[in-house]
Symmetry: C2
Subunit: 305 residues, 2 copies
């Protein structure tokens, strides 16, 4: 199978896991459940559950205890998009070609659907405890699942993704001069990398990885997340160039401070390269059989749109 | 000590537990953390952590493993108020005499603070796993803590509190005729009783209560929550009467359908009495030493404002 064929098969499996864990649209809470499922079914590349699954396999995990966590992390990613799109946040009417949740269900129901997804993520993850009685593997116990839930929460919250969103909102209101590289790295690391680390680390923990490997995989997540966002900044500049039809930097007044405006296009591209290589090298060091994960990382970072 | 003195001492203890688990206001996420802590520190009767603590003691619990859960349930209650107060929901500028979170920190930060509190509730609860190594009691293990986290999630989510909020929002937009007693009971049971059941059941589970007692305490929570909300509807009618200076029922056009408009004032009062008695009787059946909890329940239900 080529990488693209393998990717397609794996994403299909992830879609089936998501469907299995989505709540039934029935009862007096039907509308909020519909809004939640609408948001999840709006597509996306399912990168986070995919990375989680690959990390789990990488460290020898073989049980389906990983599945509720795969669904949970996609619910958390999705709730963050639903709330981000609200009029008081980014005020977006469309996402991936479909109307955003609040345009379809109204603002109140979109707030509630986001809350519902975040809450249901933990409800779904805690179903992993029910699997303990039927599993054969000795790689984990209730405490390991508890640790995975702790990672899920901490990398998604104020010391993870929500922290990054807070800093991002505030950076938009700041003078350009006050937005420095340290702040931009904080935003990228927390808003984007934290959820990728989350996925990889839960996969590793549930498969029984040791502490050294866990630290390594956390570093992989950092590199991938940061490289992904710098690449985003690079593509933004390319877009601006095409649109304006003039060289970058000639219209700085309208430019947001980004990794690229601070470091320049060449250094930014070199940094993406170095971060990407760093991640792949860590994986290569950990042993054989990581080819798909290595290719996936390069695929994620080196996209051109 | 009188009941009121004992209540005061216990609420002070709960405030100290909450303070212990609130996040530090520092770093790039400082603003969202400030908004979260502002919301928690806006007061309130701390009913849910109090009920949780009492249920834990009732079933013989003696460890501080209950504390992260006490903080967690107050965080969940508080996030629901922060989001409820948003302009797209109830649009309230004041709560308990203080400006609501979005009036102080802006709408975007209030959405984020609510998300932050909900997420941090699970982050805090999962810290209970860290206590396993140092605890003496054999009443629970990692699986018991996992079960408590499962209860925390399910009673707060779409099959609990969020489900009730969804139905409540939709009921407001409905023709009065379509709002029947079944729907109103659903709303009260889920929007209010579910979080009280949540508190009592987590206390019971962590103290090692058996399944029969757990079902009983769930019933107590149902009775208390429902009685509390019917009492609320009764007080609303009393308020309307005072305000309008004319008998209830003469101005039905402006009246929202409530438990009282459907069942009348006398039956409503009798139902509050019966639910309250039912809860106290279940507690009396379970043994001695529940006097404070019994008084607390009567205190909560029989308030006059």
């Amino acid at each position: 199978m080529t990488f693209n064929e393998e990717l397609k098969v794996k994403v299909e499996y992830i879609e089936s896991v998501l469907e299995k864990y989505l709540p039934q649209e029935e009862g007096y809470a039907k509308t909020v459940i519909e809004a939640m499922n609408y948001s999840i079914r709006s597509g996306g590349k399912r990168i986070r559950p995919l990375l989680m699954f690959e990390a789990y396999r990488l460290f020898g995990g073989e049980d389906d205890v990983i599945e509720p966590f795969m669904a949970a992390i996609e619910m958390i990613h999705t709730y963050s998009l639903v709330h981000d799109d609200l009029p008081c946040m980014d005020d977006d009417d469309y996402r991936r070609g479909r109307r955003t949740t609040h345009k379809v269900y109204g603002e109140a129901m979109a707030v509630l659907a986001g809350d519902g997804l975040l809450n249901y993520a933990f409800e779904t993850a805690s179903r992993a405890f029910d699997k303990l009685n039927v599993l054969q593997s000795n790689d984990y116990d209730a405490k390991t699942i508890g640790r995975a839930i702790g990672i899920l929460a901490s990398k998604s919250g104020i010391y993870g993704m929500i922290g990054g969103q807070c800093a991002d909102i505030e950076a938009e209101g700041k003078d350009k001069e006050k937005v420095d590289e340290k702040l931009i790295r904080y935003i990228h690391e927390h808003k984007t990398a934290a959820l990728i680390q989350n996925a990889l680390m839960i996969g590793a923990v549930l498969a029984g990885a040791n502490e050294v490997d866990l630290a390594k995989i956390e570093r992989v997540g950092y590199n991938v997340g940061l490289a992904f966002q710098i690449q985003d900044d690079i593509l933004d500049v390319a877009g601006t160039f095409e649109q304006l039809g003039k060289p970058i930097g000639s219209d700085e007044k309208n430019q947001k401070t980004t990794y690229v405006t601070i470091n320049g296009l060449n250094k930014s591209k070199a940094d993406v390269e170095a971060l990407s290589e760093g991640a792949v090298n860590i994986l290569k060091d950990m042993g054989d059989g990581n080819e798909f994960l290595e290719e996936l990382i390069i695929y994620l970072i080196s996209r051109t749109k």
